[in-house]
Amino acid sequence: MKTTYREAVRAALREALQRDPRVFLMGEDVGRYGGTYAVSHGLLEEFGPERIRDTPLSESAFVGAGIGAAMAGMRPIVEVMTVNFSLLALDQLVNGAALLRHMSGGQVSVPLVVRMATGGGRQVAAQHSHSWEGWYAHVPGLRVLAPATLEDARGMLWSALQDPDPVLLFEHTTLYGAEGELADDAGPVDISRAAVRRPGKDVSLITYGGTLARTLAAAEALAKEGIDAEVLDLRVLRPLDTEAILATARRTRRAVIVDEGWRSGSLAAEVSARITEEAFYDLDAPVARVCSAEVPMPYPRHLEEAVLPQAAGIAAAARAVARHG
């Protein structure tokens, strides 16, 4: 069936609310407004205000309340409007959810799912265009997911709810309107493995989330030039699927990492380091990275485009790596 990313997430929410009475959704404007990105539109009418809970603008309180409810055995889905605002709840996520199980000697389980919109590309300027998922992926105790496809938008949520530990789901804002075909019986998906989205033999393009589509576009452009690129979608930013990363790097012997985060201290840096540490002698070229320019996101379209990884830049980096040596 034809659907959108937004509808796929909504279908996942609906399924979770139908299947598990412990599940409830809370966040800013998830109810009467229908969700900032219209993801939860209609759910208030269907499930009522006890399970679709509009919250005040109190990120720390409602994320912390999600932790408390999860500790007590509920399965809260907390929507933080965007990753930018999640910094107001950072203490609860990093000093709370992530470490409660370990710090309590294994007693306290926090089966919390936090969804948030991430990324730039909509001309909403510096305070609404961050990609902090790499920061969260730094933190032990969290599982960090980046659904980049309709299947993952539809299937990652239920799997995340089965995880007895906190899971953060990053939905790229530019993806909500993405249309495509989704199997009628699409359902839960694995949340531990990366996925090869395009097999190839000449160079590995490793990415996730909002830059997957542009990376695939770059691969198509490269194919016309006779460069056969493999595209690996990380899907799971923590714990990283090191095996899949090393496998693709060894297969093509060349790797480019595409990451919308800033380059310094980025997730791309971590992926690069793992390749260099464990597959250095299998490489034919240095690992390259395509990241966002290290400036606050400017508002005008042309400058925003200059900041973000684009297909042309990805292809150029891949070309340089493919021709190296």
């Binding site: 005040p56 309180a61 609860q92 409660l100 370990h102 309590s104 294994g106 530990d165």
Partner: protein, 335 residues
């Protein structure tokens, strides 16, 4: 409303139980201080000496099924919730038999079995979590109370205000207990609060609130029973301020440059333990022999806890990643 009427003397049995609880905590804390000096307990150590009447009074209004969220000055609260002194002491030692398997130490006592949810060393961070525990009870129709303890310092945190509003808006069963010991670490309340009437802040969020003399265990108990009763009956949260004082330094590292000895001595004159003992003596419920027996029992419990902690093993280093996440083959196995 501020309760000023002195409550009547308690029954013999109940009065003795209150005294015994306060003595347990006092003796436990004093031993912790000594063990810190010996290097057996390390890191930060925040003692509750002087504030015992608050937790002991409030716990009279709680039931075993109620949840408790506390601060980093929470040894006494854990004991009162039913965590054994041995498990608490072993935790302070960092031993594997500690209530958090030794991983948390003094500031991070947990016990899921008794619904003791920490042990939080981030000031204010426990409040939203208490709201969530209460939200779970609300959603499941459970008539339980979540008691959330925090200090006057937490009242300056945004999370205090966010949590008051959210708990009130959703009428959640949280008993907020502010242990106002007049200092946010070393900053006197007059120097960190523009408005010293703390219940007024709660009332600003439509949360009913009361202040009570936190050095008087009977007054605390009476106020807590009223407050918890209201919360349990489904009327939403309640804010109880207990005005108290810590007799010892903020932590073992604190040279106490910010308050003078006269102030400390003046508060020590209001020590809640002799104060209750005097009430019980006047009522004929206590004599020297009984007091000695209660003290002896407290000392024996602490002695036994220390022996248990001393004899307990350390967690093997090989278990370092255990319980980072739950799933077998999860992240713990794939660093």
């Amino acid at each position: 409303m501020t309760s000023t009427d002195p409550p009547a003397a308690p029954s013999r049995e109940h009065g003795q139980a209150l005294l015994a609880d306060m003595l347990r905590i006092r003796r436990f804390e004093e031993r912790c201080a000594a063990l810190y000096g010996e290097g057996k307990i390390r890191g930060f150590l925040h003692l509750y000496v002087g504030e015992e009447a608050v937790a002991v009074g409030v716990f009279q209004a709680l039931r075993p099924e109620d949840a408790v969220v506390a601060t980093y000055r929470e040894h006494g609260h854990a004991l009162l919730k039913g965590v054994s002194a041995g498990a608490v002491m072993a935790e302070m030692f960092g031993k594997a038999t500690g209530c958090s398997r030794g991983r948390g130490g003094s500031m991070h006592l947990f016990d899921a079995a008794t619904r003791f949810y920490g042990g939080n060393a981030i000031v204010g961070a426990g409040l939203p979590q208490a709201v969530g525990l209460a939200l779970a009870d609300h959603l499941r129709g459970e008539r339980r109370v979540t008691a959330c303890f925090f200090g006057d310092g937490a009242v300056a945190e945004g999370e205090f205000h966010e949590s008051m509003n959210l708990a009130s808006l959703w009428r959640l069963p949280v008993l907020f207990v502010c242990e106002n010991n007049r200092y946010a670490m070393g900053t006197a309340i007059e120097r960190h609060q523009a408005q010293l009437d703390l219940p007024l802040k709660a009332r600003g969020y439509a949360v009913p609130a009361e202040s009570v003399d936190g050095m008087d265990v009977l007054a605390v108990e009476a106020a807590a029973r009223r407050a918890a009763g209201q919360v349990r009956s489904g009327q939403g949260p309640f804010f109880l301020e207990a005005r108290t004082y810590r007799f010892r330094a903020h932590s073992a590292y604190d040279p106490e440059l910010y308050r003078n000895k006269e102030e400390v001595e003046a508060w020590k004159q209001r020590d809640p333990i002799p104060a209750l003992a005097a009430v019980l003596r006047a009522a004929g419920h206590l004599d020297d022999a009984l007091l000695a027996r209660l003290e002896g029992a407290a000392d024996r419990e602490v002695d036994e806890a220390v022996r248990f902690a001393e004899a307990s093993p350390w967690e093997p280093v090989e278990d370092l990643l255990r319980d980072l996440v739950a799933a077998p083959g999860g992240e713990g196995g794939r660093p």
